[in-house]
């Protein structure tokens, strides 16, 4: 009996065909799954790009918040530098005029004495003012870096002081108390540290602004604990409900009016802190205030 007429062979062929059809179905499903997975990966890539764009916008928004503080910090020294330069110009005109006419008679002795006494001080003050502006710009450049992903060794105290200084105009109606201990250095990306500090402080300020009937108070405490550094920011502002507390790290969740907040601030803060192995703990009571405590590992 040949294979072709063997009933077992016919059954074998039938079974083989059935197996092939099942495998074909499986392969079709696998192919569809693969293609859907590819689409999903493309979407994830797009979402990541959009998230990066939002994070970048948030960083720019933080810089915008700082702009007023920077302007204020620069304006003070700039005002006296300009005043000094005006006076120095006037003195120089007098001296040049006297030199040109080859006679000191154009300047009386009192004026000459005053110029000689005043000149070095004016130059020194102007120089100090320019140095202050230079420092402010240098600090701003250091803390406002949005591109670098480099982790630097930083003095947290300096960063907190700078953030408070730059937020000066926003804090003018707030009773600010702070105790900033000298703590060991931390390893952190400078731009991102600024992002974290500004976000937390601005949230506190806004929480206080939401309670205009109450005198605003913010307390900043930086301490060195046994195995970490703790930074706490407490305010007596509006506080948060249980729901807000649970959702505060959700991207795009905001309690602010439409158009005034992106809702990604605290989400980014959490992301940055996680990347740097830091913890954040928030305790809040509606109508009483909020305390945000960030712990930084020792580097």
């Amino acid at each position: 009996m040949t294979d072709a007429s063997n009933p077992y062979y016919i059954a074998y062929l039938r079974e083989k065909k059935a197996k092939q059809e099942i495998e074909q179905l499986l392969e079709d499903s696998i192919r569809q799954l693969y293609e859907k997975n590819q689409l999903l990966e493309q979407k994830i890539h797009q979402i990541k790009l959009q998230q990066q764009s939002i994070i970048h916008q948030e960083k720019l928004a933080t810089l915008g918040t700082l702009a007023a503080g920077v302007a204020h910090e620069i304006n003070n020294p700039l005002a006296f530098v300009m005043s000094n330069v005006n006076t120095l110009t006037s003195y120089t005109d007098n001296l040049l005029s006297a030199l040109t006419s080859r006679s000191a008679k154009n300047i009386d002795n009192n004026t000459l004495t005053m110029i000689l006494e005043d000149f070095p001080e004016l130059v020194s003050d102007t120089n100090q003012g320019l140095c202050r502006i230079k420092d402010i710009v240098r600090n701003l450049l250091f803390f406002a870096r949005t591109d670098a992903e480099v982790v630097s060794t930083l003095q947290l105290k300096d960063a907190v002081e700078l953030a408070l200084k730059l937020l000066g105009p926003k804090l003018k109606n707030v009773m600010l108390t702070h105790q900033l201990d000298s703590v060991p250095t931390i390893s952190f990306n400078s731009g991102e540290l600024n992002q974290v500090l500004i976000n937390i402080l601005v949230n506190s300020i806004q929480a206080c602004e939401a309670m205009p009937e109450k005198a605003s108070e913010i307390n900043v405490l930086l301490t060195h604990q046994s195995n970490h550094i703790a930074l706490s920011v407490s305010d007596n502002g509006c506080g948060m409900s249980e729901e807000t507390l649970t959702r505060m790290y959700d991207a795009f969740y905001t309690t602010k009016p439409v158009g005034t907040g992106t809702g990604v601030g605290m989400s980014i803060v959490l992301q940055i802190l996680k990347q740097h192995n830091c913890d954040i703990h928030v305790q809040s009571d509606v109508g009483k205030g909020t305390t945000v405590c960030v712990t930084f590992p020792l580097s």
């Binding site: 092939q20 392969e27 192919r31 693969y34 293609e35």
Partner: protein
């Protein structure tokens, strides 16, 4: 080696030598109760041992048996993946699409298929050069596959195996000559 290759080998042997021969070969060269599933991987030594035995049985050089299997394999694969083959309008486009289309499709279906590296280059309208690299050194199977593809598209070809891994080279070159009427 993916099970689908064994499935096509089984088809060929059962078709040409009968079911009993396939059963004997399996009994001799595969673990007991071996079942080949297309998407699973199996030791290529099983395939080589079976082909070797077939060559001895038919008193043919192993290379010829492997080449004949490659020819048969093309039809087996093409009948299972009609959609992929339909994407090519002629033999040349298929050869030029081995790396960018066929292997991409294989990678979609099978986990770690251990494909050979194939680089195809059009030398002239009548000549295509295929460079083959694989630790399995299945270049004669590749040659058979190319003959199978040519037959599928009604294209007459000759292949000269100018450089071969079996002669100590680190790659093979298959120089294909297309014969136009």
């Amino acid at each position: 080696m993916k099970g689908i290759i064994f499935n096509v080998l089984e088809d060929m042997i059962v078709e040409q030598c009968g079911m009993a021969v396939w059963n004997d070969l399996l009994k001799k060269h595969a673990p007991p109760e071996r079942v080949y599933i297309s998407a699973k991987s199996y030791a290529e030594t099983e395939l080589m041992a079976i082909t070797n035995d077939v060559a001895l049985m038919l008193n043919m050089p192993l290379q010829d048996v492997v080449k004949a299997f490659g020819h048969y394999l093309f039809n087996g694969l093409a009948s299972r993946h009609v959609g992929v083959i339909k994407r090519f309008e002629d033999f040349t486009s298929l050869v030029m699409g081995i790396h960018d289309v066929i292997h991409v499709e294989v990678n979609k279906l099978y986990h770690e298929p251990a494909l050979p590296t194939i680089i195809s280059r059009i030398i002239s309208p009548e000549q295509i050069e295929v460079t083959y690299r694989s630790p399995r050194k299945m270049c004669f199977c590749a040659e058979g596959l190319l003959f199978g593809a040519a037959q599928h598209f009604g294209q007459n070809i000759t292949i000269v195996h100018t450089v071969c891994m079996h002669n100590g080279a680190d790659h093979c070159i298959l120089a294909i000559e297309l014969q136009h009427d």
